[in-house]
């Protein structure tokens, strides 16, 4: 069994939140917007997944801006009840200045968000196709 290269302790704000997520091909594609928690048998929380995208950053920001981000995202999202892109911790190979995954982007749920943003927003920007 492989084990991710992660320090024995870390502070979330310093070392995880807003850090770049990089896939196994070295491609940066998202930021860590929030972390999903689960609970062990003793009721202690632990991190099970990285959450990315507007559905994760909106609630974290809170207030009017956060609610607005979530509302726009939910309105434009093809799903009736959308949920944020979720990358399980089992896909994390290491955490250093970035969060490095052991899998390519297309193997993660965040791929759908990345492609959707590229299709609906980035492609509409004049000159966006020049980089392809």
């Amino acid at each position: 069994m492989t084990t991710a290269r992660v320090s024995e302790w870390l502070d979330v704000g310093d070392r995880l939140l807003d850090r770049q997520v990089v896939d196994s091909n070295g491609r940066p594609f998202a930021k860590v917007d929030d972390l999903e928690l689960a609970y062990d048998a003793e009721g202690r929380p632990y991190v099970v997944a990285i959450l990315c995208g507007p559905g994760a950053i909106g609630p974290r920001l809170g207030r009017r801006l956060g609610h607005w981000i979530v509302a726009v995202w939910a309105r434009l999202h093809p799903a009736v009840h959308p949920s944020p892109a979720r990358i399980p911790m089992s896909a994390v190979a290491s955490i250093d200045s970035a969060v490095n995954l052991s899998v390519p982007l297309d193997a993660t749920a965040a791929a759908g968000v990345a492609h959707w943003v590229a299709e609906h927003f980035v492609s509409l920007i004049p000159g966006a196709s020049h980089g392809e």
């Binding site: 992660v6 502070d11 704000g13 310093d14 928690l37 062990d40 929380p45 632990y46 809170g62 911790m89």
Partner: protein, 118 residues
């Protein structure tokens, strides 16, 4: 944590909550969360990152800019500023915190809490 709806499902649910000590004194807000790598075994990852403590204090500009980080070094005024911010931050152990709405009640006295700096 008190009721099901008070149980946080994301780290973001914890950030910004106000914290009081066992005597009702205001400790400030949660501005960071310390994780310890001793949680349940996750496939391919190993021991999960478990919520060990909440870092609580007055959310100063120094902490927002990262000057309170232990590894942050720089010109002496920044070092002094960062150390001062860390001195004012407390580690509230997860097991000592009980949530009620937007407030966390710590069952320990302010004087018994460890400082956040390492």
């Amino acid at each position: 944590m008190a009721s099901e709806e008070d149980v946080p499902h994301r780290i973001g649910d914890l950030i910004g909550l106000r914290v009081t000590d066992s005597e009702g004194r205001d400790l400030g807000k949660v501005y960071d969360v310390r994780l310890q790598r001793d949680g349940p075994e996750l496939p391919e990852f190993g021991p999960a990152l478990r919520v060990d403590a909440l870092i609580v204090g007055r959310d100063s500009i120094a902490t927002r800019l990262g000057f309170a980080r232990p590894e942050m070094t720089g010109p002496w005024p920044i070092d002094v500023w960062g150390r001062h911010a860390v001195r004012r931050a407390y580690l509230v152990p997860w097991e000592s915190a009980r949530r009620a709405g937007d407030t966390l009640h710590c069952d320990r006295r302010l004087e018994d809490l460890e400082r956040a700096g390492r």
